[in-house]
Symmetry: C2
Subunit: 219 residues, 2 copies
């Protein structure tokens, strides 16, 4: 995979998670098999995001890459503050991936949300090396994100993944037993929010996704 | 003044202003004597901010500097999109000024909000050349910004300006006849939001601040 990142199991932090619970949830999830952590919180300001990025960097301790949702300036400021931030995940309404790549450098991991054939075409038209992966969804209706696009289902995901110019991570309402079918449909991995963040045992929840991914993909 | 910017009359765009009205208001305000325009809109996403920065850059056409509130990544992306963006205005909860200076370069104009003696001390402890000015306020209670700090009045502003390590721009509820007293209290300029943006004649409103500033400061 590009830049060596294992996209198999992507944890997106849930902004409904209390700050006190964030470190233990992320620590357990990484121990349970999460391969990428994305810090996403649309509600807090930049200074608070920088503090949370530093906290998560310390908890993750280099085990897996840490990405920041949306805010490239926050990613860079968190690096200045001593955090190991490996890249960003951008939505269609965030700054353009080309600017993000220029600011973050060639080694950064950069993902882009792509829900439609038009998004996939736009991704394919970017200069080579701009993006590392696409986040494609939602797979099932989910309460995590208000106003999400219509659910694709496994088949809808497969149609997009078939023509995608980059590895696709399936996101949105993914359940453990979706992992194997999504893999067969071409997913490089899955991204999970509340199914891990809101679980009573986030480590076990992560294992249920990771085990499924490992076993059924024949690794 | 640092980097040649005339801080006398700073227009901060009001995010309650309809997008259709934005170009004509800013054009009239600049013609009326505004010396700096700051694009501030906490409600729209980065892509929309970039579009608005490009629009304002085109309207301003190099007459005065254009700053972006808060989002350094948006300022850089707007530059990539062809806008002339001269710098940013940062709040205490935005990314640190040192990171912003590194990202924007030595020629950028960077302002920082400072409401308290502690903020002034923090500004004074930054490396020389990090900031160009401080935004100090609020002067009078204002409906533009929810949860603003307690109003300083002219005397409170004067106390802060006396010990400030950088030129101070007075912001928050400033009226035309406050300009001369604020100048005497040490203000390098004033910043105005709704008094220009919500005026029936934004050009005349700008002139009322600019004329006052010019006449009473003896220019």
């Amino acid at each position: 995979m590009t830049r060596g990142v294992d996209l198999a199991l992507h944890l997106v932090t849930d902004d409904r998670l209390p700050i006190d619970a964030l470190p233990s949830v992320v620590d357990a999830a990484v121990a349970g098999g999460v391969t990428v952590v994305q810090l996403r919180d649309k509600r807090v300001d930049a200074a608070e995001l920088i503090r949370r990025a530093c906290l998560l960097s310390s908890v993750i301790a280099g085990r897996v890459p840490l990405l920041i949702d949306d805010r490239v300036d926050v990613a860079l400021a968190a690096r200045d503050a001593g955090a190991v931030v490996d890249g960003v995940h951008l939505g269609q309404a965030d700054i353009p991936p080309v600017t993000a790549r220029r600011l973050l450098g060639a080694d950064a991991v950069i993902g882009w949300t792509a829900h439609t054939p038009a998004h996939l075409r736009a991704a394919g038209e970017l200069p080579a090396g701009t993006l590392d992966y696409l986040g494609v969804g939602v797979i099932r209706p989910t309460a995590t994100k208000a106003n999400h696009p219509p659910a694709l289902g496994i088949d809808g995901f497969a149609e997009l993944a078939r023509v995608a110019p980059l590895p696709c991570v399936a996101i949105g309402g993914v359940r453990p037993d979706d992992v194997a079918p999504l893999r067969r449909a071409g997913a490089a991995g899955v991204a999970v929010v509340s199914a891990i963040c809101a679980a009573d045992d986030p480590g076990a929840a992560a294992r249920s996704f990771a085990r499924d991914a490992d076993a059924k993909a024949g690794r």
